[in-house]
Point group: C2
Chain length 344, copies 2
């Protein structure tokens, strides 16, 4: 085993011939220590490069000053999603600034609850609170709720429950995206979706699309909507275009799907935006770098992550006091070069 010398509070006490309690009080800015002695203790502490032992402290204070980031998806899926990566970055920044440590884990299948494979930090209570990013099994949320753990849901919410959440205004965003195409003169607008499409974020965006059409007096046609994975964004677009050549505009449930759709259009030698306009959602970095650059609904991912972390930390300070907030971030229309007036 490794042998590491670590100076403890005792060493300081011994060196200065005072009691450990006094040292503790001095180090933690607690009253009951004269300014002079406090200074002496501080000096000695840095001299011996003293670092508090998190375990010992955590044992008595029952706090770890660290929070957990829990993803409902596989880690590689989670991280390769630029949207979540942005949220992660926001969370990390906020927690770091508040001197909290950040633990990461994913909790995917429901089974993990029962076979005890839930992330250790949940089960052994080694984090003060949890940030749950994306859809996660309801059973986990119920579990956390019952055990009175502090947590905040990011980019996900359970319809019925009154939970602390930070989400995007998907409904309005979907609506705005569609309205953008409508205002350019498009009338035959398709929606290429992700999974699931019958609930969650993508469903809300679809609903916004639907609302916009209906407000514009255009009938919603189910055959112009296709779900599927990202790769499916490609196939879905082909399907749609072949079956409905009148389509001049596509609203995608997110940027990845939009990019895939553009790729599909290219294989049919259709030009974007001359032949078909495409608008995405999220504004991931690739949206800007792609060609043509992608019009999209921007969501401030960093800000969402930061806000969620703020809420959690605040909850931890205040205890149960405050009622759950539901914070909704707007999505902002960013017009780039993948959308334009329809062909005549």
């Amino acid at each position: 085993m490794r042998y590491i010398v670590r100076t403890t509070i005792k060493d300081i006490a011994k060196a200065l011939d005072v009691n450990i309690g006094t040292v503790s009080r001095a180090l933690n800015d607690k009253p009951g220590v004269s300014a002079e002695l406090r200074k002496k203790i501080m000096r000695k502490a840095t001299e011996l490069s003293y670092r508090p032992n998190g375990h010992a402290r955590g044992l008595v204070t029952q706090r770890t000053e660290s929070i957990g980031l829990l993803s409902g998806a596989e880690t590689s899926t989670f991280l390769s999603n630029p949207f979540y990566a942005g949220i992660f970055a926001g969370i990390e920044a906020e927690t770091r600034e508040h001197n909290y440590a950040l633990m990461f884990a994913s909790a995917t299948t429901e089974s993990s609850i029962f076979d005890g494979r839930l992330p250790k930090f949940i089960v052994e209570h080694r984090v003060d609170g949890l940030l749950i990013v994306g859809a996660v099994d309801e059973a986990i949320i119920r579990l956390l709720n019952e055990s009175h753990r502090a947590f905040v849901l990011v980019d996900y919410h359970l319809p019925g429950e009154d939970l602390e959440t930070v989400v995007t205004n998907n409904l309005r965003g979907g609506r705005s995206a569609t309205e953008h195409l409508l205002s350019l003169g498009h009338r035959h607008i398709a929606f290429v979706g992700g999974t699931p499409l019958d609930r969650g974020n993508f469903h809300e965006r679809l609903q916004g699309y639907r609302d916009a059409l209906e407000s514009a007096g255009i009938a919603y046609r189910e055959e112009l909507v296709r779900g599927g994975q990202i790769v499916g964004g490609h196939d879905a677009a082909l399907d749609l275009l072949d079956a409905h050549p009148e389509i001049t505009g596509i609203v995608a449930c997110n940027d990845a799907n939009a990019l895939a759709a553009i790729g599909a259009l290219r294989t049919r030698s259709l030009k974007v935006p001359e032949d078909v306009s495409v608008i995405g959602f999220d504004d991931i970095p690739a949206a800007q770098e792609s060609w043509p650059s992608l019009s999209t609904m921007r969501v401030d991912k960093i800000a969402m992550g930061r806000k969620a972390a703020q809420r959690l930390l605040q909850k931890l300070e205040e205890g149960e006091a405050s009622a759950p907030h539901q914070i909704v971030f707007p999505a902002e229309l960013i017009v780039r070069s993948s959308t334009g007036a329809p062909r005549k």
Copy 2:
């Protein structure tokens, strides 16, 4: 403050009227407890849904069963780099399977060492070991070395030192990429790089490019090499093409730069690969999805992450015993549609 009921080892002991020591031994599969009693204790433990308290345990065992992932770059930079995201995923998988928790932090500037803003988990010794991904300040490495902390460097190494590392064979990879273009018949091959180009991974890849050229009897021409950021991959390519229209092939230091270069070529109405062939490095997901799909040198990021985690965990088990390994992963040529024979 929140009030959470947690069952402790004491509760079990009381319920069964045995000593806490016995309970501890039973729960940890230590000898000295009859099979019968052990079973009874186990049952009671699950009945009361007992979870060991990490702090208490850590205090006596001096281990946390958790490791830290330290990034040298800003978190958002780190996460939006698909290469690192892959490594992260590999690390997460491996640590999860071994029941270790994973903490994340970034340590960017050197200043952070002195103003005490180094990640808490390093300083308060709350992780057993560290995985350092990407270039990080040497001072930090020195610090860790001196304090005898177990750590493994991933995708980074310090020339002189004999440290535990997991890296890519950049030299050979750069060479293979270049040889691929040479074998297709290209003779005027440029290199578009990242920063820094005078040391580190990109330098090694450049060196491989140079070796390949020289082995093929083609003089290395400094004016065909351009450094710069990713966005610079775009500008660098334009620069090069305008100054040296004879160029028919481009080796990029990584996929992001390759993609940027392709974008640049498009603005000059140059076709890939008909007019210019482009090859990248890393094989990030976008390489496959882009159009044209990108030929590249694949690096198995997940495997690298896993391997690094394995090494660290092994080190932790064995103590200082083993001498540092330097594990080198090969890069594999993946031919897609961005490379072809040069125009005549």
